[in-house]
């Protein structure tokens, strides 16, 4: 890995576009995908993009009011019209876009995201413990559905961590 793939920069607070919300970030999980992007295993799709797709924050209403706590996760948007979207497989949409890859993500004080793709989150838990649910949790859940675990069956999970020398 390059020793410092990230640079801390000052930018103006982003402006929410139509259908988007502005989110003030409380905490953001760091995922292996962020590492793949930093290391170039995944090709960058947009220069100087803030990574991070497990952002917990508060919606800042257009007037500045508080719009409640939300989570911004990896899936940023889909087309809503293709065969995959129509079949309930929007994760396979060829036009799907991703937080922290196609648009600035949660390694930032603010980010914007399509309102239809953010998740309301409980107010009573620390932001830090909610953040990992947004990718590790959700994708882990889909993986669990995909591996067809039978009732009472034995499940194996390979690799929480990688060791490199």
């Amino acid at each position: 890995m390059r020793s410092r793939p990230l640079a801390l920069v000052e930018r103006p607070v982003p402006v929410a576009g139509p259908g988007e919300v502005l989110v003030r970030v409380e905490a953001c999980g760091v995922c292996r995908t962020d590492l793949h992007l930093a290391e170039g295993d995944l090709r960058s799709r947009r220069p100087l993009t803030a990574p991070g797709h497990q952002a917990v924050g508060r919606v800042v209403r257009p007037g500045g009011g508080d719009g409640g706590r939300v989570g911004v996760a990896w899936l940023r948007s889909t087309c809503g019209r293709c065969r995959q979207c129509a079949r309930g497989l929007e994760n396979l949409c060829p036009e799907s876009a991703y937080t922290g890859w196609d648009a600035d993500g949660g390694f930032a004080e603010y980010l914007t995201a399509p309102a239809a793709y953010v998740y309301p989150l409980p107010e009573d838990a620390p932001a830090e413990t909610l953040a990992p649910l947004l990718c590790a949790g959700i994708v882990g859940y889909r993986a669990l559905l995909r591996c067809d675990l039978p009732e009472g069956g034995r499940l194996g999970v390979y690799g929480f961590a990688r060791r490199r020398t």
Binding site: S96, A131, R142, G159
Partner: protein, 135 residues
């Protein structure tokens, strides 16, 4: 829980895994591969029970070595990928998590330490989920 990392094993047991080690003690009905290492695909397939399913959960995997049909796939073993998630998955999971909050072991980093968080992840030094504290 199958991992070479002693710290990850200890964490898995702490979080409720039935066993943790190099190889599963018994054939598995299902397995999820989170490690980005294609070398583990044949290992994980071979450790499946007849009719078992392996789901590869990562977005990136190094090359998968040649598979031996009889050892790795025959007896209706299934190899699948997992691609991101739908919003329905997200809502279903977060509803479950709200009802029964999972035990999450987080390792917090200051916003300015994002580089260090990535470096620690690269070397497998994060025992838990790395999280940046931002606001």
């Amino acid at each position: 829980m199958v991992t070479r990392s002693p710290a990850a094993r200890a964490l898995a047991l702490e979080l409720g895994a039935a066993s943790a080690g190099d190889r599963p003690p018994e054939p598995l009905d299902s397995a999820i591969l989170f490690a980005p290492s294609g070398d583990l695909v044949p290992v994980a397939l071979e450790a499946l029970e007849r009719g078992g399913t392996l789901a590869v959960a990562g977005i990136h995997l190094t090359d998968v070595p040649p598979l031996d049909y009889e050892r790795h796939l025959f007896q209706e073993r299934t190899l699948r990928s997992v691609t991101a998630n739908t919003r329905a998955d997200g809502r279903a999971y977060l509803a479950l998590a709200a009802e029964r909050p999972p035990v999450v072991k987080t390792v917090p980093y200051a916003f300015e330490e994002a580089d260090r968080a990535l470096a620690d992840l690269a070397t497998g030094q994060v025992s838990g989920a790395a999280v940046l504290r931002i606001g």
